[in-house]
């Protein structure tokens, strides 16, 4: 455990040193504020709290941004150290290979935690202050932040998988962009296309929700938009998740599977790797 912390803190310090964390906080915080200020127009008529509305817009934003940030942190984590030669020396120290992976993971998740909670959390405090101290809807907002962290962890794990499988950093960067495109854009487009062509004949609601669960980004979206009554009503999808039999536990379970599985494969490949 001590070694995990040493390795994690090294990643955290790297993130602080190269202003990575600062940039992510500003990006997430700035966009959260901009969206909530733009999105505050409908709150007057529908009587939904500013935080509830923000959850909807931020969930849509996070689906794009969080995977991108996580992949940028992680694609280089292993292949970069192989390429530069620092891994060679590190593995002659009293650390096991799983400690190397888990230490990095801990460090990168910690970076995401700081970025998300400082960025989105800061924006929340400003919104609360702007609405005269109204904290209505905070549970949905906080759970959105937690879900974002879990989504980030998913893509950190996927980034490691890329990082351990490829031979060069440039390939890893390309693969990371490809992965991002698939899960953030292409998969949804494909699903839409299939639904339009199918016109509700072959694909039942059951099958459709299964297909949604295949993508961690869709899982994240449903998790944010359907677990809180106010949010799902404002998002116009009230009751969708419960009708499809998707509970919060199931959805969170899916996301955690998306963390554990890539990490396990990464570790397996890394254990066999010879330097």
């Amino acid at each position: 455990m001590r070694l995990l912390w040493i390795l994690a803190l090294k990643e955290l310090r790297d993130g602080l040193r190269n202003r990575w964390i600062a940039a992510a906080i500003i990006l997430l915080g700035g966009l959260a504020l901009a969206l909530s200020l733009l999105g505050s127009a409908p709150t007057g008529s529908v009587r939904v709290s500013m935080l509830d509305i923000s959850v909807i817009s931020l969930a849509s934003l996070s689906v794009y941004l969080i995977p991108l940030i996580a992949l940028m942190l992680s694609f280089d984590a292993l292949v970069g150290e192989f390429e530069r030669g620092t891994m060679l020396l590190l593995l002659t120290y009293p650390v096991t290979r799983w400690q190397v992976i888990m230490g990095k993971f801990l460090g990168h998740v910690l970076i995401l935690f700081i970025a998300i909670f400082a960025g989105y959390g800061g924006a929340m405090l400003i919104m609360v202050a702007a609405t005269g101290g109204s904290i209505e809807g905070w549970p949905a907002y906080v759970s959105m932040m937690l879900n974002s962290l879990v989504l980030g962890a998913v893509f950190v794990a996927l980034g490691y998988l890329i990082s351990v499988l490829v031979k060069e950093r440039a390939t890893a960067a390309g693969a990371a962009i490809g992965l991002w495109l698939v899960f953030v854009v292409l998969y949804d487009l494909m699903l839409f296309g299939v639904l339009l062509l199918d016109k509700g004949q072959l694909i039942s609601q059951q099958l459709f929700s299964m297909l949604m669960l295949v993508s961690p980004t869709d899982t994240y979206r449903i998790l944010n938009l359907s677990m809180f009554e106010n949010v799902s009503q404002a998002a116009g999808i009230a009751g969708v998740a419960s009708k499809a039999g998707l509970s919060g536990v199931l959805l969170t379970g899916v996301l955690f599977t998306w963390i554990v599985a890539p990490l396990a494969v990464t570790l397996l490949v890394f254990q066999r790797r010879e330097l």
Binding site: T86, L89, P94, T96
Partner: protein, 307 residues
């Protein structure tokens, strides 16, 4: 067997169809200083990586400190181990001090030791600079410092003195000697034959993945059967006379006005010396020059590899 620090038994390593290390046997006792010599690509680095557990042998068995270094059970033992890779790489964005204390914490070594080591390798002033700004020699020194963290029992040094200035080289060997006095074992790969000649207990000469010779310097002389040179000083003007009196069966390399260079094989050395002393007072000095390591090395490199 159990007293060996390292035991390598008929170990081969193949990458694809290429055999990098072939049927190597090597036993290393505690406190020894082993020097690996050989051309580039002879398998020295791979042999070290096998001993470090970074790679696994395709055949045979490697045991370090009584265990397989590639197993995770060996991880705890790595605290007693120091390694300087051939071209050492560090985290460029960190300062020298940060790099060293990161490695120190992994080894459970007190941070105070870092400053001592940085001073020792002459990086005291540069310790607050980013490693990215370091020169080749400074990186090498930082590499040495990290290898010496926590007084290692077992040192693996892959071409440790490249990029070091002559003064630092001497200093470096002093440090190694001090560690040896405390009972450390070291395995050094080097091309600087004249530097390591006096320091190693044993030499392992590798060629194309095969150990072509292994032993102390004396044993290698015997194996190589290289001629010993003798240089005798005689009364001025008497050199050619002495050459005549020694007879034709003695091979004379060079005759000057007052000195002669002779060469003979090890078995013939004493008879030759007796004959020289019989020459009387005309001979006023004699030097015996054994073959040097680079000659021994050249000899083994020119031998065909017999498999």
């Amino acid at each position: 067997m159990s007293s060996n620090v390292i035991s390598i038994q008929s170990v081969s390593k193949r990458y694809g169809s290429e055999t990098v290390v072939s049927k190597v046997n090597l036993e290393i006792q505690p406190g020894e200083c082993i020097v690996l010599v050989g051309h580039n690509g002879a398998g020295k680095t791979t042999l070290m990586k096998l001993m470090l557990g970074l790679t696994r042998p395709s055949e045979g068995r490697v045991e370090v400190l009584g265990g397989n270094p590639a197993f995770s059970a060996a991880v705890a033992q790595r605290s007693a181990l120091g390694y300087l890779p051939e071209s050492v790489a560090f985290y460029e964005a960190m300062t020298g001090r940060e790099v060293l204390s990161f490695y120190a914490s992994l080894k459970h070594v007190a941070a105070s030791e870092c400053d001592t080591l940085l001073q020792l390798v002459g990086l005291g002033d540069a310790s607050k600079r980013r490693v990215g700004t370091y020169s080749k020699g400074m990186r090498q020194r930082l590499g040495l410092a990290q290898a010496m963290l926590g007084n290692p029992q077992l040192l693996f040094l892959d071409e440790p003195t490249t990029g070091l200035d002559p003064l630092l080289r001497q200093h470096f060997y002093q440090l190694i000697d001090e560690l040896h006095k405390e009972g450390a074992t070291s395995i050094i790969s080097s091309h600087a034959l004249n530097e390591v000649e006096a320091r190693a207990n044993r030499f392992v000469i590798m060629k194309a993945g095969v150990v072509v010779a292994c032993g102390t310097l004396d044993e290698l002389y015997q194996l190589a059967a290289l001629p010993v040179s003798l240089k005798i000083n005689v009364t001025p003007g008497q050199a050619s006379l002495v050459a005549e009196r020694l007879g034709s069966e003695v091979s004379i390399a060079e005759v000057n006005n007052q000195s002669l260079s002779l060469s003979c094989f090890n078995g013939e050395k004493m008879p030759l010396i007796r004959r020289i002393t019989e020459l009387g007072e005309v001979v006023n000095d004699m030097q015996i020059i054994p073959p040097r390591l680079d000659e021994v090395y050249k000899y083994f490199m020119n031998q065909e590899v017999s498999s």
